[in-house]
């Protein structure tokens, strides 16, 4: 099962890298979302997929490690917040700058 998950994570990272390297801002944001999904799944897989009972008193051991779940929950909330912020920013800058093409977002001091 872990091996299968590793492939899934690999595919997610590949797709994310491909999307982030494209020029359209929306594709880049989807890419970052996929990237964080990949990272979260990696966190889950690295700690070992479900090995035993739920870690509650009264259940017969051996227990699964609950820590990765807590870590993933935190990471998901953070990436959710950041992605939505990024989407809003992209929308606002599309309205104002009139483009979502990153090539056209280049500039230096003279381009205020």
């Amino acid at each position: 099962m872990e091996i299968l998950m590793s492939f899934v994570i690999g595919i997610l990272f590949t797709a994310a890298t491909y999307l982030i390297l494209s020029k359209s801002l929306l594709r880049i944001i989807i890419g970052t979302a996929l990237l964080s999904h990949g990272a979260h799944l990696l966190l889950l897989t690295m700690a070992g997929l479900k090995r035993g009972a739920a870690p509650l008193l009264g259940e017969a051991g051996p227990y699964s490690d609950p820590l990765p779940q807590a870590l993933i929950l935190t990471a998901i909330v953070i990436s959710f917040g950041v992605t939505s912020f990024f989407l809003v920013l992209a929308y606002r800058s599309y309205q104002e700058l009139g483009t979502d093409n990153l090539d056209k977002l280049r500039g230096n001091d003279s381009h205020e």
Partner: protein, 493 residues
Amino acid sequence: MNNLVILPVLVPLLTGIFLIFFNKNISAQRWISTVSGLLTIVVSGILVQTVFESGIQTLQLGSWKAPYGIVLVADMLASLLVLTASIVSFTCILYAFRTIGKEREQYYFYSMVQFLMVGVLGAFLTGDIFNLFVFFEVMLIASYVLIVLGGTKIQKRESIKYILVNIISSALFVVAVALLFAVVGTLNMADLSQKISESGQTGMLTVVAVMFLIVFGLKGAIFPLFFWLPGSYQAPPTPVTALFGALLTKVGVYSIIRVFTLIFYHDTGFTHFLISILAGLTIVVGVIGAVAYWDVKKIIIYNIMTAVGVILFGVATMSTTALTGSIFYVVHDMIVKGALFFIVGAMAVLTGTYNLKKMGGLIKYHPALGWMFFLAVITIAGIPPLSGFVGKLLIVQGGLEGEHYVLAFVVLLSSLLVLYSVMKIFMNGFWGETKLSLKEEKGTTKGLLLPTALLLSLSIALGIGAEWFLPYFYQAAESLMDPSLYIEAVLKE
């Protein structure tokens, strides 16, 4: 167990939440921010003194025992940086009163500064590597808002890049933490250190170490990962740039120091050699940028990179002398970079431009500003008895003892070029022909001199009173060189 440890995080957090309710009442916001800034400084000062007198302080959150729960640890390095960061942010708040503008003040500028401080101070104090990630994110999300607040075109353009770079580095951070957890099975830094020294630093762990170096290097803007820095830091208004320049890169540097002295210190032949090479290249690139540009803000921004390189060189050397120097230099650099950004910002307020070629002769009507800049210049170049000298002396001394002759030479040479790059601002901006008469000036420096003077006098005190301050820095370096002190304080309570 000492509840004092969490206060530097708690005070800005509560203030930040409290300030949200006063978003239309600017004077109330200013008063609350000032009082809370002072309170944070006082609390951090007490923390430094407590650590100095009775060793490393820890706090187990929710009373969960150390390797299982999250633990906050205030050792000397962390508490010194907490104190410096709270002083710098306090002066940034004072500076913002006159420069940030009513619009930004109404849209939660002050609360965001407080939330940024929560992230920064929390990152210094935490003793758990995943919790470090969380505090990084708190800091980053506040910084996203601060960089985009105001919404000018250049801010939008640059903030997209800034956010993208940081999201990718956050994902890498999670990946690095996952791999570390898979290999060692714990996330508490003290426990990690202990387990790795028992089992040895295998090849896989060195890979994880380099991943952490990439993640923190992106934040700290070391050599191949600095590309986002000049653009992003240039976009927001001066107080925000000063906050970012003085604090955010230093959080990255702090994390590198922490991780590579506490956890991954067994394979120094590879990791620390790599850091020293990158440090050298960072210094070179920073100096080239600083010399090349004629935009005053950019010159100072590239000087941040040079400073990061110098600090990391001290870290890579891994000797008590060099580490003391590095820690001293971090503190010095936070203070003096803040002051430099303030002065450059004041120049821009007066002339309405950042282009050095359009300035000139400012010292005629603004002697105080001019001489303060001169003081900052000789401090940053490391002329004795000012604070830059002490740090550089110790770093170079440590470097020579460790037989890193080439890099020690690079550090010394960089001082000269740094001096040239900032002297260029002094010669062209303050001396020369006066281009603007008093009436033609775009603004006044009223209220901008006080925070600058505060930081500069601190920097001078740090240099002249070095003998008096150094025991603190020695203690910090000693506990970095001997991880067992840290482990004992955290796990044996």
